[in-house]
Subunit: 235 residues, 2 copies
């Protein structure tokens, strides 16, 4: 029996979530495949890794080809690498294998501008209404969605997604949209977050028409440092 090593091309597939805090919608970015395999199917935006390019660089490259955005969070998700996950691998198992390293990203819908959305080949899909996807992308998406919710509860990723200054309501809306309404009472969420001490009052207030003006806060990474690695819960 031969023990030959497999040869791989490595792809990076991104699960890019965008949160619309205003209208409480959670989207994922899908692209329509222009060619076989899975021609005309929707899929996660992906690319193959080039010579001299790191995995993360490749992930950022796809993202920046599709979206212009200032604040985002991105991390590696999982690596899917079974043989025959890509039909391009011929069944005699002597062809090149395609391995997919997936990443997940989070950004705000209102801050993101789609590049080339005239063609309609790149679209935000509501998470509730995902069509059938190419390859094992549905599985990757599910995995990413689970990770997103976990990360939000236990890590300060929200502050990498929000702009420099933000209101506690902006933050709350972000959480609501992802974790679902009533994940926590607003007033309790508020006091918990403020008690941590890493949200600095900027002194300025923002007036958005009717109603009391909201205080603008800034994430103070100095003050957050000691809490790093400890089990935070933003419930």
């Amino acid at each position: 029996m031969l023990k030959e090593l497999a040869d791989f091309k490595v792809g990076v597939d991104n699960v890019i979530f965008s949160v619309d805090g205003q209208l409480n919608r959670l989207f994922v970015l899908l692209v329509k495949r222009p060619k076989d395999p899975y021609q005309a199917y929707w899929s996660l935006p992906g690319t193959l890794v080039r010579k001299g390019e790191s995995l993360e660089t490749a992930a950022y490259r796809i993202l920046s080809e599709k979206i212009r955005v200032s604040n985002l969070y991105l991390e590696q998700l999982y690596t899917f690498g079974g043989p025959a996950r890509d039909p391009r691998e011929s069944s005699d198992s002597y062809a090149v294998r395609y391995l997919s390293v997936s990443y997940f990203a989070l950004l705000r819908y209102e801050d993101a501008k789609l590049i080339d959305n005239h063609s309609g080949l790149t679209t935000w899909y509501n998470l509730e209404k995902i069509p059938e996807l190419a390859f094992d992308h549905r599985e990757i998406l599910n995995y990413g969605y689970r990770r997103l919710r976990n990360k939000l509860e236990y890590s300060p990723i929200a502050f990498e997604v929000l702009p420099e200054v933000f209101t506690l309501n902006d933050l709350y809306q972000l959480y609501c949209t992802i974790l679902g309404e009533n994940f926590s009472d607003y007033s309790n969420f508020r006091s918990r977050l403020l008690k941590f001490g890493f949200l600095a009052d900027t002194g300025t207030k923002i007036y958005k028409g009717i109603g009391r003006p909201a205080t603008l806060y800034r994430f103070d990474s100095q003050a957050f440092a000691p809490l790093k690695d400890r089990p935070l819960v933003f419930i």
Copy 2:
């Protein structure tokens, strides 16, 4: 500028932890590299993925080449794939790239038998006394150790590592060894675990010499099912 795709060989590196509940020791399995690069350095046991082989299969293959053990937990950790992480990649960046998909495994020291430990090229190293490692393996190890502690707190992985029936003390020792003494009072740990309701009293008791005999429990996956995906905490 050329946009040529990189060609990869894919390696799997395992961070294999073993817990010695009796003597409160936590080990990681290291192997001495027989050849360049990093000849004679200690490293995580790894292998390159063969044709027709899945990543997970490769991970189990290395493991079973080194250890005979009945119960273990294994999961994918992270994929390290920057260019030049392996010196075999020549600097002109036109050579084959080496990507490492890492896995972490947990098993019990007392249940594991090392295969071929005469040569001394495969050894359990105490986590406190890790030597300099080859490649980026120190980084992988640190990552694995963090994951191990998290998993133990939030997932029922302990029950995949313990034998079919076990005492609450076996379980407690496992937790103590990994999370550190005083991670929780024994009596509190005990009542929390029993309250969950997924530990079934087998009715039998085990007599280990002096002292009151211990009740043997079995993990009841039926009873655990409804708790799945919910945020458990075994603190």
